[in-house]
């Protein structure tokens, strides 16, 4: 818990910082949806390389993100191992051919090129968005993020909820730490050393004060907002909103083309998978 997990925004004076939040949000969501759909290795690799290049330009220090990267990599590897344990022949079913590398044809645990290739695709799918997500997190001002949500068509009440969430996460986090330390000082064990039920009970002892104080906070904030006539108008302007500039249109155009390319590849491949074994 010593690690700062919520990595922060910082103005690094790059062109990525100057793009408007709406542009970055649209690009991110668009690429993440197309990446979710496609299993074309070439396409995923292309986006991965592109996002790594952008990551280089964003001037984010590797040291700042190395912890979160190791967590992500750890989880991806665990998932891949689990996929192999549960379905070692899944690649064969998808690609329709079988090239044995290790083991016997009839054995449950054998290794085929198809399976390796499928899992490589999975790894790409788990990780290709990570550089983009980091760029998005570290170059977008949280207050501007809410304004951008509203700009791309999300209702301003929901955008405002997101703004409140982003604003209060650090507060809730520090409340949580304070309460947790206070309860541990009183003798509640919540570390990994304790038994499962003890940990759950310790969790509840932290949860109760946290939740009840937050419910009070909800009352206070909503009364303050009501006094300032929140929600009376149909629309809302945002202090942090940015106008679209030339670079924004350019970025949207590039991402739009990438998405069209991804959809075109579905047609070329005759489905979501690119099959190099067919030839």
């Amino acid at each position: 818990m010593q690690h700062q997990l919520l990595i922060g925004y910082d103005d690094r004076h790059t062109f990525l910082n100057r793009l408007s939040g709406s542009t970055k949000l649209l690009c991110f969501v668009g690429l993440s949806i197309i990446g979710m759909m496609t299993y074309d290795t070439r396409y995923l690799l292309g986006i991965m390389v592109l996002s790594l290049i952008l990551f280089h330009f964003s001037r984010i220090k590797f040291r700042d993100v190395s912890f979160i990267l190791s967590v992500i990599l750890g989880f991806s590897v665990l998932n891949l191992v689990m996929v192999y344990v549960f379905a070692p022949h899944y690649g064969v079913t998808i690609y329709g051919t079988e090239h044995l590398l290790l083991g016997h044809h009839a054995a449950y645990f054998n290794l085929t090129t198809e399976q390796l290739f499928y899992e490589f695709n999975l790894l790409l799918k788990y990780t290709f968005m990570v550089p983009l997500a980091l760029i998005f997190l570290m170059t977008t001002n949280p207050s501007e993020f809410a304004a951008s949500l509203n700009k791309i068509g999300v209702s301003y009440r929901i955008s405002y909820s997101v703004a409140i969430a982003l604003r209060y996460i650090p507060d809730v986090q520090s409340d949580y730490r304070t309460i947790s330390l206070a309860q541990q000082a009183r003798g509640f064990e919540i570390s990994k050393k304790a038994k499962f039920m003890t940990r759950v009970r310790g969790g509840v002892q932290i949860l109760l004060p946290l939740i009840f104080s937050s419910l009070d906070r909800i009352e206070v904030i909503s009364q303050a907002m009501e006094l300032r006539r929140f929600g009376k108008g149909k629309r809302r302007t945002w202090y942090m909103a940015q106008r679209f500039k030339r670079n924004d249109y350019l970025a949207l155009l590039i991402v739009g083309l990438l998405i069209v390319l991804g959809i075109a590849l579905f047609r070329v491949n005759g489905g979501r998978f690119w099959n190099p074994f067919k030839a």
């Binding site: 818990m1 997990l5 990595i7 993440s32 979710m36 299993y39 979160i68 967590v71 992500i72 989880f75 665990l78 998932n79 689990m82 996929v83 549960f86 379905a87 899944y90 998808i94 799918k125 788990y126 968005m129 997500a133 980091l134 997190l137 009440r157 929901i158 405002y160 909820s161 997101v162 409140i164 969430a165 982003l166 604003r167 209060y168 996460i169 809730v172 986090q173 949580y176 499962f196 940990r199 759950v200 969790g203 509840v204 932290i206 949860l207 109760l208 946290l210 939740i211 009840f212 937050s214 419910l215 906070r217 909800i218 904030i221 909503s222 907002m225 009501e226 929140f230 929600g231 979501r272």
Partner: protein, 186 residues
């Protein structure tokens, strides 16, 4: 009219703060079950209370936002199928609001039993039927793996709501004044 207005502001704020709490709980108070990406989540117990107080819109959106933000900073990319299913669970918990009437004070045991039966069914539909099917269709993951993850999540989430959710509901109801508890002096 007056009342409606302030209710909608409360929904906005409850969504925001609820999302912040869910985010923090998912991040720090999750106990791994040993199967990747499935945790014993305290947040889902809190969701039951949030739904019972503020209704389906606030609960559904709060867990949607909280879960998406958490995925975003933990795994780098949001896992949309599970986030959407989590949002639906929030909506379902919120629909129990009118039945539980938690603001009227003291929850009877029968209501708590009803809620627990309801939540086990909701979790079953969400994690055993919807989430793995979404994973198979959208992400093309092997069926046996996602069903194992789904069933594990169903069990731990149901337990979490049964213990923590029920406890929170009962404790919260006790802090409310019971309806009709005032009597005219004779």
């Amino acid at each position: 009219m007056q009342n409606k207005q302030s209710n909608s502001i409360r929904t906005v704020v409850a969504t925001g703060i609820g999302a912040a709490i869910i985010f923090v709980l998912m991040k720090f108070v999750a106990i791994p079950t040993g199967i990747p990406n499935t945790q014993f989540n305290v947040a889902i117990g809190f969701l039951a209370l949030l739904g019972a107080i503020f209704g389906p819109v606030a609960a559904g959106l709060a867990v949607f936002i909280g879960h998406a933000l958490n995925d975003f900073v933990t795994y780098g990319s949001p896992w949309w199928t599970w986030i959407i299913v989590d949002g639906l669970v929030g909506v379902a918990f919120g629909l129990a609001k009118n039945r539980l009437k938690i603001a009227d004070g003291a929850l009877k045991t029968s209501k708590l039993v009803w809620f627990n039966v309801y939540q086990v069914i909701v979790n079953f539909v969400a994690w055993v039927l919807l989430a793995p099917t979404g994973d198979i269709i959208i992400y093309h993951e092997p069926a046996s793996k996602v069903y194992l993850q789904g069933i594990t999540t169903w069990i731990v989430d149901s337990i979490s709501v049964a213990i923590i959710g029920t406890l929170l509901l009962a404790l919260y109801a006790r802090t409310r004044t019971q309806r009709g508890s005032l009597k005219k002096e004779k």
